[in-house]
Amino acid sequence: MGDITTGTDVVVIGGGPGGYVAAIRAAQRGLATTLVEKDHYGGACLNHGCIPSKAFITAADVADEAANATAMGVHADPEVDMGELAAWKDGVVDRLTGGVEQLCEANGVDLIEGTAAFEDEHTIRIAHGGEGQGMETVAFEQAIVATGSRPVEIPGFTFDDERVWSSRDALAAETVPDDLVVVGAGYIGMELSTTFAKLGADVTVVETLDDVLPAYEEDVSSVVRRRASDLGVDFAFGEGASGWEETADGRLTVRTETADGDESTYEADRVLVAVGREPVTDTLELDAIDLAPDENGFLRTDDRARTDLEHVFAVGDVAGEPMLAHKASAEGIVAAEVAAGENAAFDARTIPAAVFTDPEIATVGLTEAEAADAGFDPLVGEMPLRASGRALTMDETDGFVRIVAEADAGFVLGAQIVAPEASELIAEVALAVEMGARLEDLAGTIHTHPTLSEAVMEAAENALGEAIHTLNE
């Protein structure tokens, strides 16, 4: 194929949840829209992030729950065939990425496969994959950069050895390693350690800090840490992974070092490095449009998702924290609508977040400490799951719902939930925060019995000093 040049109103670079959502909305608004993706539609999220990880988690949970339900009279000895699991997961991913492609086409988005780079302020050059596939240039009025992020490597652990896994490699696994070392106890590290432990691996987590999930409060992360320990996950806190060697039988010895220089070693079949993600801008040739990432590599944007250039937007992981799919999509919508001339802006008060560990964690808005720092007089209510009828009938009583409000008028500021289905329960509190709801609104809304969401109501009642199922101090 030779060079061709076409023109479009909006070019979207990157087909992840930031980019494809932006492209669909731009097309819905009547703009001629071209989406360029170098790899797979759906981006990290659908191909090697949110979706495959949740598929693995589902299967691991089904097996783990059945294996550990003797208390309720269920006896099973589940075996997980990792090859079959991987194939099913691939099927789920294919269906969703195929769906993204269809939705784009149905909405009239032009799809181009290839790697885009800026040529000048109104032109991109697209290098098609594969030899002899040639180049293509697209002239555009406006561009939306949605190139996402990739896993960070640490010194001594490049991802080119098949024994050194990024999260992407872990989610492409076709077998379960007998021994797995996980470097990093952030949310990706913890989701995957728990999952691989349930799938049968002996997991050791190496973390420089002294607890899992440092972004969360101690009583939140400790529930997950304890459960992971119960599943057999070992923790090496205060240790940083410094390198690895091959053993005689082709396995790995992972070396770690404490701040004081004490060394330890861990033998494993695989080492998963999950220490963070970094924005992807290096494929874009930003120089050509005189745009530079900030000191953390992100493209800075305003609340309209605009970069320093009026006609170039950036959304999703490449545009900064929190690096979450739903934040990427929400920004994608704003960018598309602004590009279409609408008066849109990213004005969500809050972005909920979930960690799909066991139990799940979900948070929204402010913690008690953050509320105090922000100058509020925080009023906090809690409902422990052990007082929840629904939790008891699920045999899942570790965790709690905490609601943070401000004492004056009782406006809901945030919530921290550690519970089965926490990721679903948080939706109600997110709506409460967005709507400017008060504790009485949560408490005064009738909640179905028996559900875990009653705990949201009870936590609000507890804050008001009116709980029925917990004692109000």
Partner: protein
């Protein structure tokens, strides 16, 4: 929340009699009861689903102005 702030509609009851139905958030209803105000008497600054929608501020304003249910009953 994306609340429509264009034009506050003041929906009051005809000729001083009370409305039959008023929409309000749970916290507002409770506030009205705590302030001993009949929510159907409170002048509404918004309208929803074609009916008067009373906000906490409406209740406070009405209570401050002395329009309490107890008084009316007397």
């Amino acid at each position: 929340a994306p609340v429509d702030e264009s034009e506050p509609v003041v929906v009051t009851s005809e000729g001083g009699t009370t409305r039959e139905r008023t929409l309000a958030m749970p916290a507002t209803r409770r506030l009205a009861r705590e302030r001993d105000v009949d929510i159907n008497d409170v002048p509404a600054s918004e309208e929803r689903e074609g009916e008067a929608f009373v906000t906490p501020a409406d209740v406070e304003a009405y209570a401050e102005s002395g329009g309490s249910a107890a008084e009316r009953a007397n």
